[in-house]
């Protein structure tokens, strides 16, 4: 495992189950400061759950999590809320407040958490919207935005207070090539401009690999591979190879478990009838 100086986010031996389903089983992860790290894996492995654990919305059954030096798993509610002001998250569906305009959405955190004068808030909002290329859409309502635009507004909202840790939950899902390109560029430029640590949860291998410096592959509740994008294409683990190279069959089987093929098609009976 690569050890790095002063990782921004650390997961130590984290386990989490929902009901009977084990989602994480002793997971160790370190996210280097100032870099973009991708967390990848097949659908349903709990990648969104990971973000919720880091953000303190869920508590792990075992293990500890640190964000920016603060132990998320142990702090009190008020401190957690303070910590969240330094974190940003882009949800899969954007999560824009439908009864507020784009401008008011982006201004939300500023209005709630700071005592800045209105004029200053307006400037900041415009700057953030400019950064994502939507300054002209400030007075639109979320319902009037396309999917890609909504996501960009949500991004502007998430960076409104210049977070140190930014999390992206499947940002590339269902995007057309242009929006994809826009998002990739934004994630990269924002990460370097704001000096953030970005955690990118995705299953789009090509896109994630193009901007991530470091990649974790999780499957069946454990880390099955980690390293630079290049090193993962030829990884030892079959899991990783199947995922990264998009092979249809491998450790994740093509066929859903089913009954015996011969019996299901009734072929056994037919054969015995043919026999004279």
């Amino acid at each position: 495992m690569v050890t790095m100086a002063d990782p921004a986010v650390v997961l130590e031996n984290v386990s989490f189950s929902r009901g009977d389903r084990v989602i994480f089983d002793g997971v160790d992860m370190q996210f280097p400061r100032g870099e973009i790290t991708a967390v990848m894996g097949p659908s349903g492995t709990g990648k969104t759950t990971l973000l919720r654990l880091i953000g303190g919305q869920l508590k792990p059954d075992a293990g500890r999590i640190w964000v920016d030096g603060v132990e998320v798993t142990r702090i009190k509610r008020r401190d957690l809320y303070e910590l969240r002001k330094r974190m940003g998250i882009l949800f899969q569906s954007g999560g824009l407040f439908t009864d507020l305009t784009v401008h008011e959405n982006v201004a939300f955190m500023l209005r709630e958490h700071s005592r800045l004068p209105e004029k200053l808030i307006n400037h900041i909002v415009r700057m953030k919207l400019q950064a994502v290329g939507l300054r002209g859409a400030a007075n639109l309502m979320p319902a009037q935005l396309s999917g890609g635009m909504a996501r960009r507004v949500a991004l502007a909202r998430a960076i409104a207070m210049d977070p140190t840790v930014m999390m992206y939950d499947e940002p590339f899902t269902g995007q057309d090539p242009i929006s994809m390109g826009v998002l990739l560029r934004l994630i990269e430029s924002l990460n370097s401009a704001l000096g953030m640590t970005s955690i990118l949860v995705s299953h789009d291998v090509q896109e994630a690999f193009s901007i991530a410096r470091h990649v974790y592959v999780i499957a069946e509740g454990r880390v099955v591979g980690e390293g630079t994008p290049e090193s993962l294409a030829n990884h030892d683990s079959q899991w990783v190879r199947q995922f990264v190279n998009g092979e249809p069959d491998g450790p994740v089987p093509f066929h859903y478990p089913a009954n015996d093929l011969v019996a299901d098609f009734g072929l056994g009976r037919m054969r015995s009838r043919e026999e004279p």
């Binding site: 809320y81 998250i89 899969q92 999560g95 439908t98 709630e112």
Partner: protein, 258 residues
């Protein structure tokens, strides 16, 4: 044996639901002082919940008053006691029909809309986003709506009663020929302030608490799918109605029993 197990599971499920509601109630109460410090949020909700319910409440009040006037006249005329029409209409409304019918109508119109709104916010991850932006959705979204319901229901009840009594007069005094002076004077004389009006207000406040709590809870607790949303709104209307009627019995027995 399967039916018994299913019944047992249903009972345990109902108990758990009630427990969740009670625990949620505590959370909401704790958020109330914070929400009261943001009057602009409250006013927005009061408008959506209270003002927009006026139409259905006032029209229903008018109809109920008309029917009471008619039925009351019908019965009283058999005892040649039609001057007491005002008392019958006023007492029926102030003690029972006003609080109960208003609460039921409120559950259908405003309660279901509150539930739908909150459930939608949950489904589109707005509540999650708010949480991650270090804003407590209970303080900002839930509590203002609960307080608004608490304020709106007693006010709407009062308006319902007024319109109902006036409509009773309309049908009784103007159409059926009951003496106008007797109608109003009997009301003043027979309707006791602390016994009847205050008790009616207490009932409407209690119903407001129930309607508000159930509406916000079902929304917050809804499964974040479209099916979950529709189930949640149905539940709000059904559970609020049953709770209001049940509480009405308890309150009536305590207030007007011996």
């Amino acid at each position: 044996m399967n039916m018994l197990a299913a019944l047992g599971a249903a009972v345990v499920g109902a108990l758990q639901h009630m427990g969740k509601t009670a625990l949620f109630f505590v959370l909401v109460l704790r958020a109330v002082p914070g929400a009261l410090r943001r009057p602009s949020l409250l006013v927005t909700e009061l408008y959506a919940i209270g003002v927009l319910s006026l139409v259905i409440i006032l029209i229903s009040g008018a109809f109920v008053g008309l029917v009471l006037g008619l039925q009351g006249y019908n019965i009283l005329s058999k005892f040649s006691a039609t001057e007491s029409l005002g008392v019958i209409v006023a007492l029926s409304l102030v003690r029972e029909l006003g609080p109960v019918v208003t609460a039921l109508l409120f559950a259908g119109r405003a309660g279901s809309s509150i539930t739908a709104e909150i459930a939608l916010m949950k489904t589109t991850e707005q509540l999650s986003a708010m949480e991650m932006m270090a804003v407590d959705p209970i303080k900002r979204v839930i509590a203002p709506r609960f307080i608004a319901a608490l304020i709106a229901v007693p006010l709407l009840t009062a308006m319902f009663n007024v319109v109902g009594i006036a409509s009773g007069y309309l049908i009784g005094g103007v159409v059926l020929g009951v003496d106008a002076a007797a109608y109003w004077e009997q009301i003043v004389r027979q309707v006791d302030f602390s016994d009847d009006i205050v008790n009616g207000i207490v009932k409407s406040v209690a119903f407001g608490v129930l309607a508000g709590l159930i509406a916000v809870f079902e929304g917050y607790n809804a499964t974040p799918t479209s099916l979950g949303m529709s189930r949640a709104t149905t539940r709000t209307v059904v559970i609020t109605s049953l709770a209001v009627l049940g509480m009405d019995f308890i309150l009536t027995a305590m207030m007007f029993g011996n």
